[in-house]
């Protein structure tokens, strides 16, 4: 099966017009570029923009299409399935993670094309959670080091949020004013006020006022199925155009299957398949930004005599310490009509248990948000959460759709080596071994989730909800190539640079040593901004050429 690529012949799709094009610089495969980046999501597209703006030559290879939202994105849940990574994978362990649409993206912009746009910073202490809070592992970065890059990412995304955000150190107002909170969010507000805890309008990356070619959010509610008006500030809308304007090339429909390595063990470029043709792009540096399954998979699949256990894997940690966010939902029926499908799905947030440490029987934290599931997703939750929920009983239950509300947490999980991504014997359509994902919750993870269910249930009842029930889910995939200070206990350093192969880099959610209790996309983009600045500085000082000069 070959799908036609769009970004070629010196042009790429213009996301802001139907059928339009923008100019794109192009590189020949045989011409070594400064950086070949694998993946155009929150990590890869962001880094591409930063590196190109610093004057480096960049080619991004993205396995999926280059979308034009105005003409490609239907207002339809089923049709928009095309935004997900649906190549073959196996999921196992005691608590197998549901993959597919749940936590993946395919196409320029990656999963930010269908993310919920929630843009929260980590609690500062989480960067040193072992030292300061007694659990997990410390990051090789402090909050102070990453803070300017949170500011940069929030401005780049024009995050719409409160003037005063009630948790964390003083941060000043968000770049754009908050959106009106919908009824589903007002349920959270009502419950929080009844319990005496704080709540806030969720800081989200969809604009509340015009910005460049993006018009303000129309409250369609289809955010998880692609924004057809470009109000959403995804990597497709924000970083890809910046990367192109600065001279980067983004090659869509280009699946990288293997990284090339020379006799000295340095990487030489990437093997990829585009429109049915096997090609090799030469590069002085390679960045892997394929998210926490595809990144370790590519490193493991690139094993060679110089690196028999896979690239960057002298620590044995490539693919290890996989984390997700648990998302046990609590749902209730209300007297009022809520119609939670109007506006973005998560308009109100409570981060109370990310910032309060007293009264917990677990390490870690969780935020939780109001919800707005669409009919197919909601029907799946309703039918699979309780026994016997099919037949007439299911159809009756679904009639409550417009009077339901609920909360789902972003519940932290501990990093543990038993949770991992490995290669299966089976191969995919390119003949490359597919990934097997193995995941089980720890006792601490389970206590944390039980706490979240109790607290969210109390709040939902305090808000007037009745007949509560719960569901299970997960979101996000993190941690499989962790950054650290020590080559024995980490895959890369604080700049995302491999300890073993100095011209190989990683820039995505697999860098996270711990996952915190918030959505990761803002932190991924902040890390990418920082890594971009660090690489640019190294390039200016000539520190990258040492590796390149070997050839």
């Amino acid at each position: 099966m070959t799908e036609a690529a769009r970004a070629k012949d010196g042009r790429a799709p213009d996301i802001f017009t139907r059928g339009g094009w923008v100019a794109m610089r192009q590189h020949r495969d045989a011409e070594p570029v400064d950086f070949a980046i694998v993946g155009a999501g929150a990590g890869g597209a962001t880094l591409a923009a930063k590196l190109a703006e610093a004057g480096l030559s960049v080619v991004v290879l993205e396995a999926g299409p280059y979308w034009r939202p105005l003409e490609d994105f239907a207002s339809d849940e089923a049709e928009q399935h095309k935004l997900y990574w649906t190549d073959k994978r196996i999921t196992g362990g005691d608590d197998p993670i549901e993959l597919g649409g749940n936590n993946s993206g395919r196409g320029v912009g990656g999963s930010t094309v269908h993310f919920s746009m929630i843009s929260l910073r980590f609690r500062p202490e989480w960067f040193k959670c072992r030292t300061k809070l007694g659990y997990g592992v410390d990051w090789p970065l402090s909050f102070e080091e990453i803070r300017p890059y949170y500011v940069e990412a929030e401005r780049a995304l024009a995050v719409s949020g409160p003037v005063h955000y009630p948790w964390g150190p003083f941060r000043g107002p968000y770049p754009y004013r908050p959106h009106e909170v919908n009824a589903a969010g007002l349920v959270l507000a009502r419950g929080a006020e009844a319990l005496g805890v704080k709540w806030a309008a969720t800081p989200i990356a969809t604009v509340s006022a015009p910005r460049g070619k993006s018009s303000p959010c129309m409250y369609r509610g289809y955010c998880n199925f692609g924004c057809s008006t470009n109000a959403k500030q995804s990597a497709l809308v924000v970083w890809a155009p910046r990367a192109l304007a600065a001279g980067a090339e983004i090659r869509d429909m280009a699946m990288v299957t293997r990284i090339g390595v020379d006799r000295s063990g340095l990487v030489t470029g990437v093997h990829y398949r585009r429109e049915g043709v096997d090609r090799f792009q030469k590069a002085r540096n390679v960045v892997v930004a394929g998210y926490a399954i595809e990144t370790p998979r590519l490193l493991l699949n690139s094993a060679c005599p110089q690196h028999p256990d896979g690239l960057a894997n002298s620590s044995g940690l490539v693919g290890k310490n996989l984390m997700t966010h648990a998302g046990p939902g609590v749902w209730a029926e209300f007297d009022e009509e809520i119609r939670w499908w109007k506006a973005p799905p998560n308009m109100a947030v409570c981060e109370h248990w990310n910032y309060v440490d007293e009264g917990k029987d677990f390490h870690g934290g969780y935020a939780f948000m109001s919800q707005g599931p669409f009919p197919m997703a909601w029907a799946e939750t309703v039918s699979t959460s309780r026994e016997g929920m099919w037949g007439w009983r299911l159809r009756e239950e679904m009639l409550k759709y417009n009077r339901m509300a609920g909360f789902v947490p972003v519940a932290e999980c501990e990093p543990r080596e038993v949770n991992r991504v490995e290669l299966a014997e089976e191969t995919d359509q390119h003949g490359t071994p597919i990934p097997r994902v193995i995941f089980s919750y720890s006792d601490n993870d389970r206590r944390l989730q039980a706490h979240s269910i109790r607290f969210m249930s109390r709040m939902l009842e305090a808000a007037g909800g009745r007949d509560l029930w719960t569901s299970t889910d997960t979101s996000h995939l993190l941690g499989t190539c962790r950054m650290g200070d020590d080559p024995r206990t980490s895959v890369v350093d604080a700049d995302g640079r491999s300890w073993d192969i100095r011209n190989l880099w990683i820039c995505d959610g697999s860098l996270f040593p711990t996952c915190g209790g918030v959505n990761p996309s803002l932190t991924i983009q902040a890390l990418a901004c920082r890594i971009g600045d660090r690489i640019a500085a190294m390039a200016r000082r000539g520190e990258l050429s040492a590796a390149a000069a070997v050839r």
Partner: protein, 198 residues
């Protein structure tokens, strides 16, 4: 079943600013181009229709929402979410094993094939499969519970609630591009939203 929004028809918005060209094309296909059988055998297809009719009974509808043809279409291209649970066979094989298992359980319990049973007996067969009360020898290594919940039920429910007729039933606003919504509060509705029966 008392319908909360009897006067609502999402397709009445077809020529309004809530529908764009892209969405109209997608929905026109769903409404008019029900795919022909390509993956299942005729017997398997009839059996799946009978099972789907218990998972989502539609005796109240003059024109039932087609379910089996869309599952068949997905399996014919081996489409879907891509991943499978460790120990489960690939999805095409899983579905053949699963349907065979359902029929075998019907014969074990009631000495007749699933399609020959009455609705009450059919429901009892499905209830036992959902609870994992099955004879493992009839399932070829397939986890019957997991198949029921995460393949069969999820697929059938997904097809049903992807149809505009189901949106009318539950009062979902449906397509909303470019025009989204203005009134977001409790008990608030824009004029182009479903109206609750008084």
């Amino acid at each position: 079943m008392k319908r909360p929004y009897p006067s609502y028809d999402v397709l009445a918005k077809w020529d309004t600013p809530s529908f764009d060209e892209t969405t109209r094309a997608v929905l026109a296909k769903r409404l008019t181009e029900v795919p022909p059988r390509r993956f299942f055998t005729e017997d398997e297809h009839r059996l799946l229709e009978a099972v789907a009719d218990r998972l989502l009974p539609q005796s109240d509808r003059r024109e039932p929402i087609p379910i089996a043809p869309w599952i068949d279409a997905r399996l014919a291209t081996d489409g879907g979410e891509g991943f499978r649970y460790d120990g489960m066979p690939p999805q095409q094989e899983a579905w053949r094993l699963g349907l065979r298992g359902i029929d075998a359980e019907a014969r074990l319990q009631f000495s007749q094939g699933f399609r020959e049973l009455g609705p009450g007996e059919q429901d009892e067969v499905l209830r036992r499969i959902e609870a994992g009360e099955v004879d493992d020898r009839e399932w070829g290594g397939l986890d019957a519970r997991r198949f029921f919940r995460h393949e069969l039920l999820t697929a059938a429910v997904g097809v049903y609630y992807a149809h505009p007729a189901a949106w009318n039933e539950i009062g979902f606003g449906g397509p909303a591009s470019p025009r989204g919504y203005v009134r977001l509060g409790f008990d608030e509705r824009d004029p182009w939203e479903p109206e609750l029966a008084r």
